[in-house]
């Protein structure tokens, strides 16, 4: 029975407005939530467990504030919740190294994560972690079938590819056709009582450091036209002014 890990990350609510203070993004007013694609990863992990048995451990790398999303994962159905205690910046290599060490410690054979986190949007963690572990990976997964191997459907050139993926493997999940389950009352009660297994994170040194964060340059004000006939003017401007057609 597979030992399943799902990686979850705490991010500011995607509807929260962004402000910059002292060269970094000020999240103090933002509600912190589980990154949306991680919800699909959790759903995939729970379905894998339902098909093949085993247990699901939700893992995050972060400070004590991130316990909330672990409890959310517990309420939805994760069996165990683990926080790798770490505050502050770490580059991709340092993050993936710490996650790889934890996945080895947990004896996992399969890892699910979101295809990218809502804050960085990078999408590096799944494939990078797989490389650290020497495992297979499939990214942007839109459908999964569970057997001795896992079959993952991913977008490819000229269609979608159904891939046979031998375990151990890391799957980075897109929304696909998965409907994410909601916590039930029993789950919420269990999550309240659950304790987070806090472990030291083995975060190595980073060779990338953040210099500054800024708001994006303001876009010059666009041109507004009224009435459908103006669409002909817009067509002309697209060629003559914007030069895109």
């Amino acid at each position: 029975m597979p030992n399943i890990v799902v990686l979850v990350k705490q991010v500011p609510d995607t509807n929260a407005p962004v402000s910059i203070s002292g060269g970094s993004v000020d999240f103090s007013g933002a509600k912190m939530v589980m990154s949306p694609y991680d919800e699909f990863a959790l759903e995939a992990a729970l379905r894998h467990k339902e098909a093949a048995g085993g247990e699901v451990t939700a893992v995050t790398l972060g400070g004590a504030g991130a316990d909330k999303i672990l409890k959310d994962a517990k309420a939805i159905g994760a069996d165990h919740i683990v926080r790798l205690d770490h505050e502050g910046w770490a580059d991709s290599n340092a993050v993936q190294g710490a996650l790889a060490a934890a996945v080895r410690d947990l004896g996992a054979e399969v890892v699910y994560c979101g295809k990218s986190a809502a804050d960085t949007g990078a999408g590096s963690t799944g494939p990078g972690l797989a490389e650290h572990l020497g495992w297979a990976s499939a990214s942007n997964v839109i459908a999964l079938e569970f057997g001795a191997d896992v079959t993952a459907t991913v977008p490819a050139e000229g269609g979608d590819a159904r891939l046979s993926v031998s375990l151990p493997a890391v799957f980075s999940c897109d929304k696909g056709d998965l409907k994410v389950r909601k916590p039930n009352v029993k789950g919420i009660m269990q999550a309240k009582k659950a304790t987070v297994d806090v472990r030291a994170a083995q975060v190595g040194s980073s060779s990338v450091r953040v210099v500054s964060c800024t708001l994006p340059p303001a876009k010059p004000e666009g041109k507004t036209f009224h009435g459908g006939a103006a669409a002909a003017d817009v067509a002309r401007l697209l060629r003559e002014e914007a030069n895109v057609l």
Binding site: A130, E131, R162, L163, S207, V211
Partner: protein, 308 residues
């Protein structure tokens, strides 16, 4: 002199035009650019010469027939010299970049839009902020399309090298998408529809326009959630695809934050909406306040006239 490796973006075995933008990025980083073309047939690299590129390596291997992250990273790692690595911020190449970086023990910086000396700037929080980082030593980076000016074509002097890697996944079958149309993630022009279109059948008007100008057809989350006929693969936005085409035409889309997150970095945005207060107009280069029934036929006819 140090070397900067460029991984050519390929599509169906052909070097994609965006590769010319990667050359510009590599020149901005410094180091002698070496272009690596992953291919099954070295002829793929024949048209891959760009001004400023000192060397082209056709990395020839059967593993490049279809994408397997592990095998591609292994094959490229085996033949590419050390140094910075630059690839396109397409979904496939971002995945490859992360693999290759981890393989070489390097950090990866994704979605770079500005290179200034050793500092790299990328959008974060779905483009609501920009983050600038400094890298100590070599790194793997991906560069957003349609941001850097393309380098000019030049004669190519190609060396062919056999590459190899172990496949960790196997393609069981290719499944045709519900729509044979160009995918929004791969398109340079996108025509997207929202719930303002009233009913899913009206997407055929967008398809007709898309055919005229060689565009893909996208949709807002509201449209995908409301109508079963509109598949999630068309969805542009936070829980759909992030796109940055040259031209994005939004029809009957109000511009919810979650949609803007997926398309705000488009080079030019055209919005058609009957509500003058729709948030999409704040991001549009050209806004047309009108019903889609009034504006779309005029736009389609005018563009058809221009393209013919």
């Amino acid at each position: 002199m140090t070397v900067t490796i460029i991984i050519a973006e390929t599509n169906g075995g052909v070097v994609a035009p965006a590769t010319a933008e990667l050359v510009t990025a590599a020149l901005a980083l410094g180091g002698a650019p070496v272009l690596v073309v992953p291919c099954t047939d070295a002829a793929s690299a024949d048209a891959a010469g760009f001004a400023g590129v000192s060397r082209i390596i056709a990395a020839k291997s059967p593993v490049f027939a279809s994408y397997d992250a592990s095998a591609w990273a292994e094959a490229i790692d085996g033949i590419a010299p050390a140094g910075h690595v630059v690839a396109l911020a397409s979904s496939r190449s971002k995945d490859l970049a992360a693999r290759l970086a981890a393989r070489r023990g390097l950090p990866v910086v994704q979605d770079v839009v500005l290179i200034n000396g050793g500092e790299l700037t990328s959008p974060i929080l779905s483009g609501k902020a920009m983050q600038t980082v400094a890298v100590d030593g070599a790194a793997v980076l991906t560069v957003r399309a349609n941001v850097m000016a393309p380098a000019a074509a030049a004669d190519a002097d190609v060396s062919v090298v056999d590459a190899s890697g172990d496949l960790k996944t196997a393609v069981l079958e290719m499944v045709a998408r519900a729509s044979a149309r160009l995918d929004v993630a791969e398109a340079n022009i996108i025509v997207s529809g929202g719930r303002g279109l009233g009913e899913p059948g009206n997407f055929r008007h967008l398809e007709a326009l898309a055919d005229t100008i060689g565009a893909a057809v996208g949709a807002s989350r509201a449209a995908v959630d409301t109508w079963d006929e509109i598949p999630h693969s068309m969805q542009v936005g936070q829980t759909g695809k992030t796109v940055n085409p040259n031209l994005y035409i939004a029809v009957g889309i109000s511009g919810a934050i979650q949609h803007l997150a997926g398309m705000r970095s488009s080079k030019y945005i055209v919005a058609i909406n009957k509500d003058a207060d729709a948030p999409i107009f704040k991001h549009a280069d050209y806004g047309i306040v009108a019903t889609w029934e009034e504006a779309l036929p005029v736009l389609s006819d005018a563009l058809a006239g221009m393209m013919s």
